[in-house]
Amino acid sequence: MSTALDSLYQQVILDHAKSRHGDGELPGAGAEHYERNPTCGDEITVRVALEPGTDRIAALRWQGAGCSISMASASVLADLAPGLTLDELDELVGAFREMMRSRGAGEPDDEVLGDAVAFHGVSKFVMRVKCGMLAWVAAEACAAELAAS
């Protein structure tokens, strides 16, 4: 019984859910986006700041309330995003989305996804995919807004 549960709640996820990276305000953010999961009430605001005069991300920070999956995935994203260009962030979100829609199939590329590969197990729990995507969808919207400005 614990095997299936542990494949969902990888230690990386439990650690990030407890000790959240990037949780807080981001003064000087160039874009912010709010996402909400109406079925469970989880909500998150993601903010992104660029290095001045570039399309490279200086910081991604977030504030929100939700389950361990949604909070941990925001925390992991906050670690991965700094240093990426907006295009690279888009690619990262795309790879993450593909993994989350895989229903557990295939092997995610940890060179691309880093700690986010821990969420591969979440893709088998269809009801939780939206939890995992919440912050990433918000970050994608921030990137689109920054790219357009």
Partner: protein, 445 residues
């Protein structure tokens, strides 16, 4: 071929809560309960959302479809006559079950649909439909609709809409930190302009049982109609509409061992007679010209279009099943389970049960918060032990906001729930905080 239901007429000796042996016998009637989930026997503690169905109900629907299926109230062939008879007999069975006349029982899709039927009927009355008779149900700007802060969205959003289109004002009876309100709280909100008081008989989140008798006295003193959301009461305790003395009452079939897609609106005959229809079309008219139409009396006036006939027949079978067991005994069984739930969960460190304090009666459910663990994670953890609970805001966002949480976990019982299942739930919840590291002071946030 019908299987023999195990629920039999009770003898005089069978009183009080159902015994463990009786519950075990009843469970044999419910195929869905006999399965494993996550490699464990299913402990289905989500009957407040939807109940499982006994074989007798499944068989009744299938038997109707195999022998009698036909459109009702039209056609002259044999099956049409038999189907119409079965459909109307089902109405009589459900009406008797709640102490009503058959012509006061309107089939709807579910309780949400039933409440919308009243709200939109009143909106139509406000717009002048229904003539002189409907004027008593029309609202003027400044009239008031009273609800409680604990309502299910189904008994809140339709009234918001009615207020928006009529200029009426929605007034709210606030709840306390436990989600509890009293008749004194309601009396302070109801005034001369109050035209509607809409409330849940039993809260789907807190299990609080509304003081209906006092509410009705307060509402009727100012001429307001009382609309009772009985989704969590009709399936679980004896309900008699005349004794309650409310004006409208709504409930859903799928929460009382019946099918989805069928619900009931009961209305006082004179009010149903005055209420303009919400949906119009076929089967609800007497004369139609290209310019205008005349409508049938209630209940057909409210039943436009093809009706959920096999569902009505199956719901009547569900009613007979519940009557064989005895709603008074179901209530006692569930109240005992609620006591076990509240005592077991409250004793756990870091677990807070919302709703009325232990000495106040509650129906057979408990919603709770686990410190440091989101309800979604609690539900997932329990699912891995084969325990099915509801997580989220249970369609009651304002109540959860008032309780200071975005989500709770809810365990809800029914006549087939065992004390052993409640024990498994409590044991599961006891292990949740350790799994998520929420009991570790080092990481306490």
């Amino acid at each position: 071929m019908q299987t023999t239901p195990h629920a039999t007429a009770r003898s005089a000796a069978e009183r009080g809560p159902l015994t463990d042996a009786e519950v075990v016998r009843l469970r044999a009637d419910f195929p869905a309960l006999a399965q494993e989930v996550s490699g464990e026997p299913l402990a289905y503690l989500d009957s407040g959302a939807t109940a499982q169905r006994p074989t007798a109900v499944l068989d009744a629907e299938r038997a109707f479809l195999e022998t009698t299926n036909s459109a009702v109230h039209r056609g002259a062939h044999t099956l049409a006559a038999l189907a119409t008879e079965a459909f109307e007999e089902a109405r009589e069975t459900v009406a008797r079950f709640i102490g009503a006349q058959a012509d006061e029982v309107v089939w709807t899709a579910n309780a949400t649909d039933a409440i919308n039927l009243v709200a939109y009927g009143m909106a139509n009355a406000t717009h002048g439909r229904g003539g002189e008779a409907a004027r008593r149900l029309a609202l003027r700007p400044g009239d008031e609709i009273v609800v409680t802060e604990a309502e299910h969205h189904a008994n809140l959003v339709p009234w918001q809409e009615l207020a928006a289109v009529t200029g009426a004002v929605l007034r709210v009876v606030a709840v306390d930190d436990d989600g509890v309100w009293t008749s004194a709280d309601l009396a302070a909100v109801v005034g001369d302009r109050t035209r509607v008081v809409a409330l849940a008989h039993v809260s789907n989140v807190t299990g609080l049982v509304a003081p209906v008798q006092e509410v009705v006295a307060i509402a009727h003193a100012v001429g307001a109609v009382v609309v009772l959301d009985a989704c969590q009461s009709v399936p679980h305790r004896p309900v008699d509409v005349r004794a309650l003395d409310v004006d409208f009452l709504a409930f859903s079939g799928h929460k009382m061992l019946g099918p989805t897609g069928i619900g009931v609106l009961w209305g006082r005959a004179e009010l149903l007679g005055a209420l303009p229809p919400f949906r119009t079309g076929g089967s609800m008219i007497t004369t139609v010209t290209l310019e205008a139409s005349e409508y049938l009396p209630a209940p057909q006036r409210f039943e436009a279009g093809t009706q959920p006939v096999s569902q009505a027949v199956a719901l009547a079978e569900a009613v007979r099943y519940l009557e064989r067991v005895g709603l008074d005994r179901v209530q006692e069984h569930e109240e005992a389970l609620a006591e076990q739930l509240v005592a077991g969960l409250s004793a756990l460190p870091g677990v807070r049960v919302v709703g009325p304090p232990a000495h106040v009666a509650r129906s057979g459910l408990a919603s709770f918060v686990v410190d440091g663990v989101h309800a979604h994670d609690v539900g997932q953890f329990l699912d891995a032990r084969g325990i099915a609970v509801r997580v989220g805001h249970h369609c009651a966002q304002p109540l959860h906001r008032r309780l200071g949480v975005t989500a709770t976990t809810r365990a809800s019982t029914y006549l087939y729930t065992t004390t052993a299942e409640v024990e498994r739930l409590v044991a599961g919840v006891a292990a949740v905080r350790a799994y998520f590291g929420a009991d570790d002071p080092e990481v306490a946030r």
